[in-house]
């Protein structure tokens, strides 16, 4: 059975800390791994990774994929209270129309 596992499930840090969120997967016909941020509304897209070892960056957020070890990490440096959210990892398969498989998410709380 295909599955996506995120860890930790929740995390509390202080402003300015650096955090690493983990996502491992066991999915047949892997195509892509996506990270979303969710703040009490619909998830918003952060990154999509398809190639192993290539880091994607956007400001203080970065992510990398290891297709050999079947995992990805999302790093957030110099965290701010606005980073508090649920971070969702999802995996897409190489078959037209098939839906993303989501992990349970990591709830990040950043205190000031």
């Amino acid at each position: 059975e295909d599955k996506v596992v995120q860890s930790p499930l929740s995390l509390v840090v202080h402003e300015g800390d650096t955090v690493t969120l983990n996502c491992s997967y066991e999915v047949t016909n892997f195509r892509s791994l996506l990270w979303y941020k969710q703040e009490k509304k619909a998830p918003t897209f952060l990154f999509m990774l398809t190639s192993s070892g290539i880091e994607k960056k956007s400001g203080r957020l970065s992510s990398i994929l290891d297709k050999k070890e079947l995992f990805s990490i999302l790093n957030i440096t110099a965290t701010q209270t606005g980073d508090s959210a649920v971070y969702l990892c999802a995996v897409g398969r190489n078959q037209a129309g098939t839906a993303l498989i989501f992990g349970k998410g990591t709830t990040l709380s950043v205190s000031s």
Binding site: R31, L34, Y36, A99, F102
Partner: protein, 112 residues
Amino acid sequence: NAGVTQTPKFRILKIGQSMTLQCAQDMNHNYMYWYRQDPGMGLKLIYYSVGAGITDKGEVPNGYNVSRSTTEDFPLRLELAAPSQTSVYFCASIRDRGKGYTFGSGTRLTVV
């Protein structure tokens, strides 16, 4: 471009009642999806559609039905609502597999 529009945003149903959650997109996307999200559980796929007239079950389809008579609309029907269907429902669409989903704003449903 309105993107993906979901209605209603909130609804309270009594056990045994029925309702339809509406989802419309104006991006000419072929692929559309319905997910439900329960606290701490990520998103679980209910039904999906790869084009007008074509629908298929996801991970948790029991108690729901869908139709896709046009490319734009993908309504989700709840028959005989049960407390277990209390959840937040998200509709999403995608043009091709190279991009992340576009999500609707969600419908918060409570069955009492």
